[in-house]
Structures are given as structure tokens and as C-alpha cells.
């Protein structure tokens, strides 16, 4: 019994210490001793699987952590879940890729100070023998319609991620309602979806970054290119970043979130993003630094001061 008692004391003590530490961590923001006012704090970033699984964030975050003396907790969840976590006040900053969902998030007051961060593109991949015959089509919507008419197997993420949102938008634009045995919703991350499509000889929509990082493991090939390789603009995949509104969630670490947004949209970090490569290819193209900023990046798309009179 004495062993268990000691364990108990250790465990309870540990738990108590941890919770005290948690409290003082949030109180201590004003008394941070480092040169930067945010030193020692932790930034919670909820983001998509594509930014995390490609290794980009691990690669670049070291600089930020060193510069500010902070820790970044990156939680890879998929766009829908990342925004939901932020909506619940469980993260400080979100990096996602579904402009429609981002706009809704901003309009509902949860997100502020949005910036365009970087982009890559989506590609439609499928088996080399291409049963539906979409190879080289210049229209993504035509390609999807062709797949649907051929009832060729198609794997959908089905997880409310940015890629899934894009896929649904494409079906919508194609005027086709995908249904039937050939259309499979997997509810998995991009890597798993690619593997499932690979094993079933199915088509799927993938972001280019995840596809490149997995290309050596699978037999799927790009059949419809995105805009980076001259494909249709509709397959563009822009990533945005937003701070959680401290007016809605007063526990959000707004200072640090803005420091992070400032850093990742700075020329230095944008260079680091553009020089990040996998299998010899660039995965993300920075777009935050511009001589001629696009003002629509700061507000929900289509918003203008005349259109919303409060």
C-alpha cells in the first residue's frame, strides 16, 4: 500500500501543480520576463492536415519559437474541425484553406485580421489507365461530370475539410449530384484518402502538396492539373490565417497570435515557405508579401463598407 499512496500523492501533486501552472501561465502574460512581452507563452494553432502532414510547419516554426521564446502547439485537424476548435475558444490562431468557411467564421465574429498566406493548388488524380478518360481535360468540372457519367470509382474525403469543401463546390459547379456505389466518402485525412483511392483504382481530389509528399508510395497520377501547372483557376488552393477574436474569447492569446501572423506573413518566413521542398518540388507558394495588397484578404469576400450598414 505505501507504494500506491506515494503514487497517489505524486499524481495528485502533479495534477495540482499542472493546473496551477496552467493558471499562472495565463495570468503571467503581463509579467513575462523575456525581451518580448510574450516570452514563455504557448500559442495554440489549429490547422489543416495538409500544412502539418507535409512537414511545413515543423520546418518553419523553430525560427518563430526562437525569435519570441515561445512554444507553438500545432493541432492538425482539417479545416472544419480547426475552425470549430477556434469557435469554442480552444485555439488562438487558425490556418485553413476554405474561403467560404473562413468568411463565415469572420462574419460570425470569431476571427479577425485575416491575411492571405500562401497557396498551392488541387489536382484530380486517378489510376494510370484512367477508366473514365479524363486525362488532360482543361476543365475540372467537365472531368468530374465525365467521372460521374462513367460511374468510375471516386474517393471523397467526406470530412468537412478544406479539400472536401472544394470538392463539393466543384460538384456543385459541375451541376452534378454525386451519388451511387462509385462515390465513396471515407472520412479520413488526405494521405489515407490517397491510399484508399490507390488501392481501389479510384479518382480523388488532392491538394498538390500532400500528393507530392506521397507520390513515391502510390500509383496514382495527376490527370487534371491545377493552376500552378497551367490548369483551371477553379482548382486554386489558397490558405488564409486569422487570429481568434479576443472580444469573443477573452482567453485567446491575441498578442501572440498577432505576433505569429506578423511573423508568418513577413518576408523572411514567406521565403522559408517558398524554399520548403519535398521530393525536389516546392509545395507552397507564399502570397502575403505584395507591393499591391489585395484588400479583400482582410474581410469576408465581397464585403464592402457600403454593403453592410450597421
Amino acid at each position: 500500500m505505501p507504494i500506491q499512496r506515494r503514487q497517489f500523492i505524486a499524481a495528485v501533486g502533479g495534477g495540482a501543480l499542472a493546473s496551477i501552472a496552467g493558471c499562472s501561465g495565463s495570468d503571467g502574460s503581463s509579467s513575462g520576463g523575456g525581451s518580448a512581452g510574450v516570452a514563455g507563452e504557448t500559442l495554440t494553432l489549429t490547422t489543416t492536415t495538409s500544412t502539418y502532414d507535409t512537414g511545413l510547419l515543423d520546418e518553419i516554426h523553430g525560427d518563430f519559437e526562437e525569435m519570441y521564446g515561445v512554444t507553438v502547439d500545432a493541432v492538425a485537424q482539417g479545416t472544419g474541425a480547426a475552425l470549430e476548435s477556434a469557435r469554442n475558444g480552444d485555439s488562438d490562431v487558425v490556418m485553413v484553406h476554405a474561403r467560404g468557411l473562413e468568411d463565415e467564421f469572420m462574419r460570425n465574429g470569431y476571427g479577425i485580421n485575416r491575411r492571405d498566406l500562401m497557396f498551392n493548388d488541387f489536382v484530380i488524380v486517378g489510376p494510370e489507365d484512367d477508366p473514365a478518360g479524363i486525362q488532360g481535360m482543361s476543365s475540372a468540372t467537365d472531368a468530374l461530370t465525365t467521372i460521374a457519367e462513367a460511374e468510375a470509382a471516386f474517393v471523397s474525403r467526406g470530412d468537412n475539410s478544406g479539400t472536401h469543401t472544394k470538392e463539393l463546390n466543384l460538384w456543385d459547379a459541375a451541376g452534378t449530384e454525386p451519388s451511387g456505389d462509385w462515390y465513396q466518402e471515407t472520412g479520413t485525412g488526405m494521405g489515407e484518402a490517397l491510399n484508399i483511392a490507390n488501392q481501389q483504382g479510384a479518382y480523388t481530389l488532392s491538394d498538390r502538396g500532400t500528393y507530392i509528399s506521397q507520390r513515391s508510395e502510390i500509383d496514382l497520377t495527376i490527370l487534371v492539373q491545377g493552376p500552378i501547372e497551367g490548369g483551371p483557376e477553379i482548382l486554386a488552393n489558397p490558405y488564409g490565417i486569422m487570429a481568434v477574436n479576443p472580444g469573443v474569447h477573452d482567453n485567446a492569446n491575441y498578442d501572440l497570435a498577432m505576433a505569429y501572423i506578423g511573423w508568418i506573413t513577413s518576408p523572411g518566413a514567406q521565403d522559408a515557405i517558398s524554399s520548403y521542398q519535398m521530393n525536389g518540388e516546392q509545395l507552397f507558394f507564399p502570397e502575403a508579401v505584395s507591393e499591391d495588397p489585395n484588400f479583400q484578404q482582410y474581410v469576408p469576400e465581397g464585403w464592402s463598407s457600403d454593403s453592410s450598414s450597421e
Binding site: M1, Q4, Q7, F8, A11, G14, G15, A18, S19, G22, C23, G25, S26, T44, T49, D53, L57, D58, H61, G62, E65, T71, V72, D73, A74, V75, A76, Q77, N88, G89, D90, T188, G189, G191, E192, L194, N195, S213, Q214, E217, I218, H249, N251
Partner: protein, 238 residues
């Protein structure tokens, strides 16, 4: 070299693309979370099982059926419940426990407690009435009788703890939801466990590395089992 030493139990069948200390840190987080959760569960379960085993009260069968139901409770559901509790919007939101090891310990505590309680209760109930009576007759207080029964039931209790540990360390659903699977950019785990690391590798189609991590997990569970059985044997010899 550093990567090899991180996985001493596994023959290097594949090149692990991990940084130094990564595998060690996820093993540490797995053990820290599961051992703490199981220790807390045991401290909670033992008295509950003792009361259930010794006392008769109204609703006892009801409590029993709750415990038995709890044994089959899906870990994902537990994860969601803990998420709602510790999320900023939840009742414990002010503690800021979301995406921490403490939140993971909470969910594993909920998962491990039912099997530990149920198996301990079965072990205690199985101790021969004569042993209890003898302890009584020899002038033992209630506490003495309880200690005698625990001693007699120690193998069953050890099995209970191992069952709870097995459930805690092997589950992936709840720790992924409440822990967030976080690794610092230096490659050291904060809330990533072996199971969530395996899930991440599988998500990326890296089945080789997932398998290696799976082997580490199995080896870890075997080691813990061996240690507990050994402790039980030594206890018996005393």
C-alpha cells in the same frame, strides 16, 4: 545513430524518418498519461470495489450494471465528453486543460476505471468466505479484514490494473480528440502518444513506420505486464 538508440527494442527494418528523441518522447507521454490515469483509477476503484464487495445497499445491482456498461464505453465518446468538459466553453474551461496531458489523463481515467472496478470486484467477491471469517475470528478490525481480502485477491487486482492499463495505453480515439496529437517543432512530443503517432503515420500512408511504432507499443505493453506479474510473484513469496 540517435534514431537507432531511440528504438532499441526494434530491429531497424526500415529507416525511421524521425528526429532524435522523438520516439522516446512519445513513449514517455504514452507511459506518463496511461500510468497516471491507471494509478488514479486504481485508487478510485479499490475502495469502490471494497464497498461493493462488503456492503449491501439498495441500488447495488444498478451500480454494478453501470460499471459493466462502462467497460464497453467507446473511447471516442469518452473523448467527446471530456472535450466538452475541458473546452473553453465547458464547465472546466477556465482551467485551460484542452490539448494537455491532464485532459488525456482525465479521459483515460474514465476509460480505465470501469474494467478495474469490475475485475477487482470479481476478485474480491471470489475470496473465500472462510478467509474473511477467519480474519474476523482472529480479532481483526474491519480494516484488517479488508487488507487480508486484498492480499488474497492480489492476483485478480493485478489483472484488473493490467486490464485498465491495456485499455488506456492502446486507445486512440479520446487522446486524439482531447490531446490534439501535438509535437513541438523541436520534435519532442507534448501530447502525442504511440497510438496517435501510429494514426498520424497511417494517415500519411507511411505504413512501415506505423508498423514499427505498433511493435514498440506491443513491446511496451508486454514489458509492463511482465513487470506487474513479477511484482505479484515477489509479493507472494514474502
Amino acid at each position: 545513430m540517435p534514431v537507432e538508440s531511440a528504438v532499441p527494442l526494434v530491429p531497424a527494418v526500415v529507416d525511421l524518418p524521425f528526429r532524435e528523441g522523438y520516439v522516446r518522447s512519445i513513449i514517455f507521454v504514452s507511459l506518463y498519461v496511461s500510468v497516471t490515469a491507471v494509478a488514479l483509477s486504481t485508487l478510485f476503484s479499490l475502495p469502490v470495489a471494497m464497498i461493493m464487495g462488503f456492503a449491501d445497499f439498495r441500488g447495488k445491482q444498478f451500480v454494478k450494471s453501470i460499471i459493466n456498461t462502462g467497460m464497453g464505453f467507446p473511447s471516442v465518446v469518452v473523448g467527446l465528453l471530456v472535450l466538452f468538459t475541458v473546452s473553453n466553453q465547458g464547465p472546466m474551461g477556465a482551467l485551460e486543460l484542452i490539448f494537455t496531458r491532464e485532459a488525456m489523463i482525465m479521459s483515460q481515467f474514465v476509460l480505465a476505471t470501469p474494467p478495474i472496478t469490475a475485475i477487482t470486484l470479481a476478485a474480491i467477491t471470489g475470496v473465500n468466505e472462510n478467509v474473511r471469517d477467519a480474519a474476523h475470528v482472529l480479532g481483526g478490525t474491519r480494516l484488517d479484514v479488508a487488507l487480508v481480502v486484498i492480499k488474497e485477491a492480489r492476483y485478480g487486482i493485478a489483472t484488473a490494473i493490467l486490464a485498465g492499463f491495456g485499455r488506456a495505453i492502446s486507445e486512440v480515439g479520446s487522446v486524439l480528440i482531447v490531446g490534439g496529437n501535438i509535437v513541438s517543432s523541436g520534435g519532442i512530443s507534448k501530447t502525442r502518444t504511440l497510438t496517435t503517432a501510429i494514426q498520424l503515420e497511417a494517415r500519411q500512408g507511411q505504413y512501415d513506420t506505423a508498423m514499427v511504432l505498433g511493435t514498440v507499443l506491443v513491446a511496451l505493453v508486454l514489458t509492463v505486464n511482465a513487470i506487474v506479474v513479477r511484482l505479484g510473484d515477489e509479493g507472494a513469496m514474502r
